[in-house]
C-alpha cells in the first residue's frame, strides 16, 4: 500500500469520525458541519464542499445519517443531517478503533512526548 493510499484512508476514517461525533450532539446542515469541524479542531481539520458532500452522501447511503430539508434560523431551506440509530451504533466502535490506533502510534513513535 502506498503512502498516499494510507493517508487517504486515514483522512477518510478521521472525517467519518469527525462528522459522526458532531452529529451525535445535534442535527446540522453541510455548511455548519464544515464550520464546526474547523472551529472545534482549532483549524487542524477543514472540509470544503468537495470533500464534505461525497462523505455525507456516502454515510447517508450506509444508513448512518439521514438528511432532511428544514428552514434554518434565517428562514432558508437547508438539508439538515442527523445521526440514525445505526449511525449511533457505529460511533462507539469507531471511537475505540481510533483510540487504539493513536495509542499504538504513540507507543511506537512517542508522539505525545515529542
Amino acid at each position: 500500500m502506498t503512502t498516499k493510499r494510507i493517508r487517504a484512508k486515514i483522512a477518510r476514517g478521521s472525517a467519518e469520525l469527525a462528522i459522526l461525533s458532531l452529529l451525535a450532539r445535534e442535527s446540522l446542515y453541510g455548511f455548519e458541519i464544515s464550520k464546526r469541524i474547523e472551529e472545534e479542531s482549532g483549524g487542524a481539520l477543514r472540509f470544503n464542499l468537495a470533500s464534505l458532500y461525497p462523505m455525507l452522501y456516502e454515510l447517508e447511503k450506509r444508513g448512518w445519517l439521514k438528511g432532511q430539508w428544514q428552514a434554518n434560523n434565517a428562514g432558508r431551506d437547508r438539508r439538515y443531517y442527523s445521526l440514525t440509530p445505526e449511525g449511533r451504533k457505529q460511533l462507539a466502535p469507531l471511537r475505540r478503533e481510533w483510540r487504539s490506533f493513536f495509542q499504538a502510534l504513540d507507543r511506537l513513535a512517542e508522539v505525545s512526548r515529542a
Binding site: N48, A50, Y57, R79
Partner: protein, 226 residues
C-alpha cells in the same frame, strides 16, 4: 444577486442521476456556496474575491461529480420501475408457476395437460388454480404498492402472469401457423379452437388476479419503503 443553485446545476448537468436527485444536489451545494460567499463578504472581501473564494471550494467539478455519483449510484441499484413493476410481477408469476406445479403433483389430473389445441382443464383443479391466481394477483399488487408503485404498476404486476401466458401462446401459435404455411405439419390448425385456451388460461385467471389485486388498486396511498 447570484443564482448559486443555477451555477451548480450547470456544473452537474452531465452527471447521470435522476433529474429530481440532481435538483436536490444543486440546491444543497448551491446553498453551501452561497453561505461561503456571504461569509467572505462579511469578512470584508470584495464581491469578485468572495465569488472566487466560494468557487475555490471545488477544485475539480468533474471529480466531485464522479464522487457524488459513486456515493448516490449504489442507492439505486434497482430503479423504481424494477422495484414497483418487474419484481412484483415476477414474484406473482413464479408463485403462480409454483402453484401450478404443486397442483399438478397433487394428482387431481393434468391442470393444463394435453396438446395446446386439445385443451382440457379438470374442473376441481381449475377452481383451485383460480383461487391461487386470485392470491397471486393480490401478491403482485401488494408488493408493487409496498414499493410505492402507482395504480398502473400495481395493475400490471397483478396480471403479469397472464400477459406472459398470452405472449407465449401468441408466439407458439405464430410458430405453428408458420410451420403449417411451410407445410411442416399442423394441418388441422384451427384458430377458432384457440378461443377456449385463451379464455381458460388468460382471460378468466386474469379476472381472478384482477379481483385479488382490487383492494390494493383502490387504495391510492403510496407506502414506499425504499
Amino acid at each position: 444577486m447570484r443564482d448559486w443553485r443555477r451555477l451548480v446545476s450547470e456544473k452537474i448537468d452531465r452527471v447521470h442521476l435522476p433529474p429530481a436527485q440532481k435538483e436536490e444536489i444543486a440546491a444543497e451545494l448551491g446553498s453551501h456556496l452561497e453561505e461561503v460567499y456571504e461569509e467572505q463578504r462579511r469578512l470584508g472581501l470584495l464581491e469578485s474575491e468572495a465569488f472566487e473564494g466560494a468557487l475555490s471550494e471545488v477544485f475539480d467539478w468533474a471529480e466531485l461529480m464522479r464522487r457524488i455519483h459513486k456515493a448516490k449510484r449504489e442507492e439505486r441499484i434497482m430503479n423504481d420501475r424494477t422495484k414497483q413493476l418487474w419484481l412484483p410481477g415476477l414474484a406473482s408469476f413464479w408463485t403462480a408457476m409454483i402453484c401450478e406445479v404443486v397442483l399438478n403433483r397433487m394428482d387431481f389430473g393434468p391442470l393444463t395437460g394435453g396438446p395446446l389445441f386439445h385443451y382440457r382443464l379438470p374442473e376441481v383443479n381449475y377452481v383451485v388454480w383460480l383461487i391461487a391466481e386470485f392470491g397471486c394477483g393480490a401478491l403482485g399488487a401488494y408488493l408493487s404498492r409496498r414499493a410505492g408503485g402507482p395504480p398502473s404498476a400495481r395493475l400490471f404486476s397483478a396480471v403479469f402472469t397472464c400477459s406472459v401466458l398470452l405472449a407465449t401462446m401468441t408466439v407458439v401459435t405464430g410458430i405453428c401457423a408458420a410451420a403449417r404455411a411451410l407445410g411442416l405439419g399442423f394441418t388441422t390448425l384451427d384458430f377458432g379452437m384457440l378461443v377456449r385456451p385463451v379464455l381458460e388460461v388468460v382471460v378468466i385467471p386474469g379476472a381472478a388476479m384482477l379481483a385479488g389485486a382490487l383492494p390494493f388498486l383502490l387504495d391510492s396511498k403510496h407506502t414506499a419503503i425504499a
